[in-house]
Amino acid sequence: MADARLRRVNKEIADCKNDKSSHINIELIDNSPFHLKGSFKGPEDTPYAGGHFDVDIVIPESYPFQPVKMKFLTKIYHPNVSSASGAICLDILKDAWSPVLTLKSTLISLQSLLCSPEPNDPQDAEVAKHYLTSKASFEETARYWTMVYAGGPGKTGSAAGQKQDEVAMAGLEKAHVDQFESLGFERGKVIDALRRLNYRGANVAKINDDRVVEELLK
């Protein structure tokens, strides 16, 4: 069966190269065809538009009878992708996998996941909370990440080389962070605590300052 796996993967790579229309790219990372890098553009009309996303691809021993392993190499702010590790929550990468699915079709599915996040089956709970609480603020953060990490366009067009703003990265308000920082807490800790508490949008009114201090004292 080892030959079959190699034959199949080689054919998939070749087919993907020959197909210019899908704008899905697959390339070798080292000399092995079983460790690849896939990439695609962020879909239009989403916060990921203009970004270029790289995906790490590992072909397991029993491919295609077991799903291919994929994770984002490019940092991305999305409810179904871990903001820390790039791990992806997508059914076809787990039990809904079928041996007739290909690397390309799977990457296309990933691309469409960017169009339609599923916050009720999240990989990153904090990002999902953000999405559900305030979609506008979530999208702003996602756009910001796209700009900083995926080479997407900045709001003002000048942001590409700009120093990363931790507060914007976390999707928080600078005024809120300043407020608790002024009590003497470390800025990084404040950002962490507010992120955990989902201190955003309408939630701000619901969370009293004591609760925040308690979280900060943990």
Binding site: S21, S22, Q66, V100, I108, E214
Partner: protein, 557 residues
């Protein structure tokens, strides 16, 4: 025996009630022989109040029962045995539901169950193909145009299907092999090479423990009949056997009167209708043995991998969950419990004042920042803010959780101690065996006569298990007379067990060996009696509804 459990669930429930009724009477004198439910009771012995009636069954016995079910459906629906098997499995062996639906709409059931393709079969040739069966890039129409690709990329559900056009030379779409030696397809006629089928099924069976194997084509729900699986696995008898085991496991999992032995690679099943309802688990602790080995002891009512008598499943589960959760709380408090930065003795928190003085070395420091108090004269502001409401509340919450933690630790430490001792018993058995050999050589006692040591150790291990779980029970018992009586019994058993333990481990003296033998034997009998008392009384208490919990326990009101 097979006829006994092709009964419907309803009949089982009647049996269940019958048992409960008798239990309510005088459980310890319960005569099992009188049951008319057809279940044999092991050794036909009388059941104690902490024992349940059950029957171990081999894989063969279950397979026979399954075959009866299949034959019945096969005859009733006029389908072959493989189809009947698929239908039953599709309905999780709920025969009544299957017959009901089948009589209503046979074709619909067959389609949904993946037995036969829908009336108007999808033409297997029409599909966009990426991995193609031709060698050169001679066809340009193969791919969707870019706008379509865009549309496609927005719909997660749209996934390419790889299947070659019919007029081309055949290529297996899974392994991309041209002209494979052998191909197979299910009723849907989606063709794949035999070697891919074999790899696919092996993977499903071995890695996913799946007995329901569908066609490899995307969105095709046609299921593989047993004969197909067997043919594909002709050269892998081990995988075929595993598949048959999975069929049995699925049947067992579908019947609440049955439970598969949880021990690794064991294929026995236990039938225990009296413990099949959730409500029965408030009055009994259904510990059973599978029949393959007396060491395969498990609880029929829950997944706890232990003989958790005398405490009922729900409370035992609650306790284990608590132990898991509180290891976190304990850790949290531990990291929040500070040591004196001078002498490392642990610091007790008291009152609201942050000015602390270590009892041991008299070091004066600030509770909040752990810095020396002397420095706070100048940098006072930076610490003062912690006297605000929030931090006081935080500290109060901490001391509250500390008090409840201490209560928990009281029970937990005793629980863990018995568990630890049980874990060490392997060593103790080895040590005792050595001792027995020694006795036999240096004293007048024969090998048979020195067995009293092993018997004593068996009893100690058994009782430690009981004791361990009595602490879980006591933790949740509401204070009062009943709890006090429970703890009296617990204390008597514990004391006796510790005394017997000590006797077993005491150094050997040839002169007093007969004396020791007498003492150990007497103590063993006593310990056994104390253990019986704890188990019997607790079980009786559950049947009488005598035990009251100090929190809400699943199933009790």
């Amino acid at each position: 025996m097979s006829s006994d459990y092709e009964n419907s669930d309803n009949e089982y429930f009647e049996d269940d009630d019958e048992i409960m009724d008798e239990d309510d009477g005088s459980a310890s004198d319960m005569e099992v022989d009188g049951f008319d439910n057809g279940y044999k009771t092991i050794g036909n012995k009388r059941l104690k109040s902490y024992e349940v009636d059950y029957e171990p069954l081999s894989q063969k016995q279950i397979e026979d029962t399954m075959k009866n079910e299949i034959d019945y459906i096969s005859g009733l629906c006029g389908v072959d045995a493989d189809v009947a098997s698929l239908l039953l499995r599709y309905f999780d062996w709920n025969r009544e539901k299957l017959v009901d639906k089948y009589m209503d709409n046979a074709d619909g059931v067959k389609t949904n169950a993946g037995v036969s393709p829908p009336e108007k079969p999808e033409p297997s040739t029409a599909s966009s193909s990426q991995i193609e069966s031709h060698t050169g890039p001679r066809r340009s129409t193969r791919r969707a145009n870019s706008s379509e690709a865009q549309k496609q990329s927005k719909t997660k559900a749209i996934i390419e299907r790889i299947s070659p056009p019919v007029e081309e030379p055949y290529m297996c779409p899974i392994c991309c092999d041209y002209n494979p030696t052998d191909t197979r397809s299910l009723a849907c006629e989606h063709k794949f090479c035999s070697s891919c089928w074999s790899e696919y099924i092996k993977n499903k069976v071995r890695n996913e423990a799946e007995q329901w194997i569908t066609c490899m084509a995307e969105d095709c729900n046609i299921a593989a009949p047993n004969q197909f699986v067997q043919d594909v696995l002709a050269e892998d008898p081990a995988v075929w056997n595993r598949f048959k085991e999975l069929l049995v496991r699925h049947y067992v999992a579908s019947n609440k009167n049955l439970k598969y032995c949880p021990y690794p690679s064991c294929t026995y099943t236990v039938s225990c209708p009296s413990a099949s309802s959730k409500s029965s688990l408030t009055t009994i602790v259904p510990i059973v043995t599978c029949g393959a080995s007396p060491t395969h002891k498990f609880c029929f009512g829950c997944n706890i991998d232990d003989d958790h008598r005398p405490v009922v499943c729900a409370a035992a589960k609650l306790w284990l969950q608590k132990c898991q959760d509180d290891s976190e709380t304990a850790n949290w408090i531990k990291t929040n419990t500070k040591e004196c930065s001078k002498c490392q003795s642990t610091i007790e928190k008291n009152g609201g004042c942050n000015h602390m003085t270590c009892k041991k070395c008299k070091y004066e420091f600030c509770w909040v920042c752990m810095g020396p108090w002397s420095e706070h004269g100048t940098a006072w502001y930076s610490c003062n803010r912690y006297d605000e409401k929030a931090s006081i509340e935080a500290r109060d919450a901490q001391s509250r959780s500390r008090a409840s933690l201490e209560r928990y630790l009281h029970y937990y430490n005793r629980w863990a101690n018995h568990e630890q001792s049980a874990k060490l018993s392997v060593e103790l058995y080895a040590k005792t065996e050595k001792k027995m050999e020694e006795m036999q050589m240096t004293s007048v006692l024969t090998w048979i006569e020195v067995q009293f040591m092993k018997k004593a150790l068996d009893e100690v291990s058994k009782c430690r298990m009981t004791l361990k779980w009595t602490y879980a029970m006591a933790y949740y018992l509401e204070s009062g007379n009943e709890k006090e009586l429970f703890e009296d019994n617990q204390r008597d058993l514990e004391r006796a067990v510790e005394e017997l333990s000590e006797l077993i481990e005491s150094p050997l003296d040839t002169d007093t060996i007969t004396d020791l033998r007498q003492k150990v034997t007497d103590k063993t009998v006593y310990v056994q009696k104390r253990n019986e008392i704890v188990l019997e009384d607790t079980a009786q208490g559950f049947q009488d509804g005598r035990w009251k919990w100090n929190c809400s326990v699943d199933g009790f009101d």
